[in-house]
C-alpha cells in the first residue's frame, strides 16, 4: 500500500494501453532521426502519437536523451540573447562606412571639414583685415587692385570655403614650416586674399600688375593637387616663404599622384565654382565643357562664351579685365586677351593634366601640372621653361 501512489501514477501516466500501443514501435533509425530532429513533420507526428501511448518508447527516448553528449560551448556572440548584436553591429558599421565615404567622395563646397576650418581660421582674420585695408584703399584710389565688392552667393561661399580634402592632406604634414603651410592654404581661401598676399609680400615674379589667381577649390583629389600647384606658385612668387625642401617635393608628387585618381565628375564640380576677378566689377569663372563665363557687373549677370575646347577646365586666372587664362586636362591652355571675344589655344609641351595657373599679363604665366611641375612662359605660350 505504501507504493500504491507510485504505482498509480506510473500506470496512469503510462496510459491504459501501456506496453500495448496500437502501432508497432519505431526502429532505431526512426528514433535516432527523431532525436536528431531530421524526421518529416507528418512522420514525426506519427511517431509522437505512438510515443504518447507507449511506455517503452518513452523510456527509450528518455534514455537516449540522457546519453546525449553535452553541447559544445558556443562563443559569447553566439549565445542566446546576444544574437541581436550581430545585425545591429553590421548596420552601425554600414552606416559609419557610408557616412565617411559619402563625405569624402562628394564633399559639398559649402560644408568645410573641421580640419580645413582649423587651418583657415587664422587666415580668416588676416583675410578680413586685408579686405578692410583693400576697401579703404579703394575708397582712396579708384584704381585699387583688389575688388571689395561682395561676391555672388555661390562664388562667395566657394571662395570663403577653406576646402576639404586638401586641407586634410596638409594637416598630415605638421613638420612643414608655417609660412609654407600658409602659402599652401591661402590660395584655396580666396583669390583676393592670394592677390593681396602676393602684393603684400612684394616679391612676386610678375608684380608690376595686379595678380589675380583662382585656385581650384572643392571636391576631393583635384582640389588637393590644384592647391598643391597653387602652393608651388605661391612659394615661387613669395621670397619670404622658404624654398621647398626635398621632402616637400616628395609630398607634392605623392599628392599629385593621388589627384590622378579623381573622378571626372568631381573635377568638373571643382572647376565649375572657380572665379577670377581682375577688379571689382569684371569677373571670370569656369563653366562646363570648355565654356568660360564673364561678368561685367560684379557677378550679378554672367555671359557664357565658348573657348573652342570641349574639356572641362580646372583653373582660371585673370590678371586684367581683358586677359583670361584657362587651363585644363591634357595640356589644355586657352587664352583670351580681348575680354573673351576671341580665344586662342596655346601649345603646351606635354599632354599632362594642369591644375593651377598664375598669370601676370597676356604674355607671362606659370602653370603647374598634376605631377607638381611648374612650366613658365613669357611669350604667350610659344616657349615654355621649367
Amino acid at each position: 500500500m505504501t507504493n500504491s501512489i507510485d504505482r498509480l501514477l506510473r500506470d496512469a501516466l503510462g496510459g491504459p494501453a501501456a506496453g500495448h500501443p496500437p502501432t508497432p514501435c519505431p526502429d532505431a533509425d526512426i528514433v535516432a532521426a527523431l532525436a536528431d530532429d531530421t524526421l518529416a513533420r507528418d512522420e514525426r507526428s506519427r511517431v509522437e502519437a505512438h510515443v504518447i501511448q507507449c511506455v517503452r518508447c518513452q523510456a527509450w527516448l528518455s534514455a537516449l536523451e540522457k546519453t546525449r553528449p553535452p553541447a559544445p560551448a558556443h562563443p559569447w556572440w553566439r549565445r542566446r540573447g546576444v544574437g541581436w548584436l550581430v545585425p545591429v553591429a553590421a548596420a552601425a558599421a554600414a552606416v559609419a562606412i557610408w557616412t565617411n565615404v559619402a563625405r569624402h567622395s562628394l564633399a559639398p563646397s559649402a560644408v568645410p571639414s573641421q580640419a580645413a576650418h582649423n587651418d583657415a581660421r587664422p587666415l580668416d582674420t588676416a583675410q578680413r583685415r586685408e579686405q578692410q585695408q583693400a576697401a579703404s584703399d579703394q575708397q582712396r584710389s579708384p584704381s585699387a587692385t583688389v575688388a571689395p565688392a561682395p561676391m555672388p552667393p555661390r562664388s562667395a561661399a566657394a571662395t570663403r570655403t577653406p576646402e576639404l580634402p586638401g586641407s586634410k592632406s596638409q594637416s598630415d604634414q605638421p613638420a612643414q614650416p608655417r609660412a609654407l603651410a600658409d602659402s599652401a592654404t591661402a590660395p584655396a581661401l580666396s583669390p583676393r586674399s592670394v592677390a593681396t598676399a602676393a602684393q603684400n609680400s612684394g616679391a612676386a615674379t610678375l608684380p608690376s600688375r595686379p595678380v589675380a589667381m583662382a585656385a581650384p577649390q572643392p571636391a576631393a583629389g583635384p582640389t588637393s593637387a590644384q592647391r598643391v600647384g597653387a602652393a608651388a606658385l605661391e612659394g615661387r612668387s613669395q621670397n619670404a616663404a622658404p624654398a621647398p625642401t626635398p621632402s616637400l617635393a616628395e609630398s607634392l608628387t605623392s599628392k599629385a599622384g593621388s589627384a590622378e585618381r579623381v573622378l571626372p565628375r568631381q573635377r568638373a564640380l571643382a572647376a565649375d565654382s572657380l572665379i577670377a576677378a581682375a577688379d571689382a566689377s569684371r569677373r571670370w569663372r569656369i563653366g562646363t565643357s570648355g565654356v568660360a563665363q564673364h561678368s561685367s557687373d560684379g557677378g550679378v549677370t554672367w555671359q557664357s562664351m565658348s573657348t573652342g575646347v570641349s574639356v572641362s577646365m580646372t583653373a582660371i586666372a585673370s590678371p586684367s579685365s581683358e586677359v583670361c587664362w584657362l587651363i585644363g586636362p591634357g595640356g589644355t591652355v586657352v587664352l583670351s586677351t580681348d575680354e573673351g571675344r576671341t580665344w586662342q589655344r596655346l601649345a603646351f609641351p606635354e599632354p599632362v593634366d594642369l591644375v593651377a595657373v598664375r598669370a601676370g599679363d597676356g604674355e607671362h604665366a606659370d602653370i603647374v601640372t598634376v605631377d607638381g611641375r611648374t612650366f613658365r612662359t613669357s611669350d604667350r605660350g610659344r616657349t615654355w621653361s621649367r
Binding site: 501512489i5 533509425d29 526512426i30 518513452q58 534514455a63
Partner: protein, 204 residues
C-alpha cells in the same frame, strides 16, 4: 562514445557490457555460413551515426530493464499488524484520489501527458523535455505548469462533484495522500503542501 553513453545510463558501469556486445556486432559476427555480418548494414543514414549508435544502445538497455523488472518478485506486503494503525479515512481518500487522478490524466492532452510522463516518470529535465518535444525549455516549463494546474483542478472537481467532498475534505484528502509521496512526488503535481517537512523531489 559507446562507453560514455553506457556510463550515462548507469554510472557504475552496469551498461558497459551492452556497449561491448554492440561493438562486437558492429565489427561483425560470423553467421552459420561463416560470413561476417556487421550491424552497421542496418544503418539507413536518417540520423547521425553517433545518434544511431546511442539509439541502439539505449534500446537494448531499456529492453533489458523491462525484462529484469518483469522477472523481479513483487514486494512482499507488510503484515497489517506490523504497520502502525492507519487512518481509517486514508484508504477511502486514497481510492478517491486514484479514481480522480486517473480520470484527470486520461482527459489530458496527449502531449501534456507525455510531458508529465517525461518529467515525473522518467525524471528528465526541462531542457531534455524541450529537445524531445522540439520546443524551448521555457515553453516546456510553462506547459508543464499548465498541465499540472489542469490535473489539480480536474481532481478537485472530480472529488467535489462526483463524490460530494467539501473544500475542507478535499484539502484533507490530498494532504493525506501526499503525506507519503514515495520516490515519485505527487506534491508538485497536485499543488498541495506535504504534511511532512520533506521537500519535493521535483518542482516545476
Amino acid at each position: 562514445m559507446l562507453y560514455r553513453a553506457a556510463d550515462a545510463l548507469e554510472p557504475n558501469g552496469g551498461a558497459r557490457d551492452l556497449a561491448d556486445s554492440l561493438y562486437a556486432e558492429l565489427y561483425g559476427i560470423k553467421g552459420k555460413d561463416g560470413a561476417r555480418a556487421s550491424l552497421l548494414r542496418s544503418f539507413q543514414g536518417r540520423s547521425s551515426l553517433a545518434t544511431w549508435l546511442r539509439a541502439v544502445l539505449t534500446q537494448r538497455y531499456v529492453d533489458r530493464l523491462r525484462v529484469q523488472r518483469r522477472l523481479e518478485p513483487l514486494p512482499v506486503e507488510e503484515r497489517a499488524d506490523a504497520r502502525e494503525p492507519a487512518d481509517p479515512e486514508r484508504e477511502r481518500y486514497l481510492s478517491l484520489v486514484q479514481d480522480a487522478l486517473r480520470c484527470a490524466l486520461a482527459a489530458l492532452d496527449g502531449t501534456d501527458r507525455l510531458r508529465l510522463a517525461y518529467y515525473y516518470l522518467h525524471q528528465l529535465t526541462l531542457a531534455q523535455i524541450g529537445r524531445l518535444l522540439n520546443e524551448h525549455e521555457g515553453t516546456a516549463s510553462r506547459q508543464l505548469t499548465r498541465a499540472r494546474q489542469t490535473v489539480r483542478g480536474a481532481v478537485e472537481r472530480e472529488l467535489r462533484e462526483r463524490h460530494g467532498l467539501t473544500h475542507a475534505q478535499i484539502a484533507e484528502c490530498l494532504a493525506s495522500v501526499t503525506a507519503d509521496p514515495g520516490p515519485l512526488d505527487l506534491t508538485p503535481m497536485l499543488g498541495v503542501s506535504p504534511g511532512n517537512p520533506a521537500s519535493p523531489e521535483r518542482s516545476v
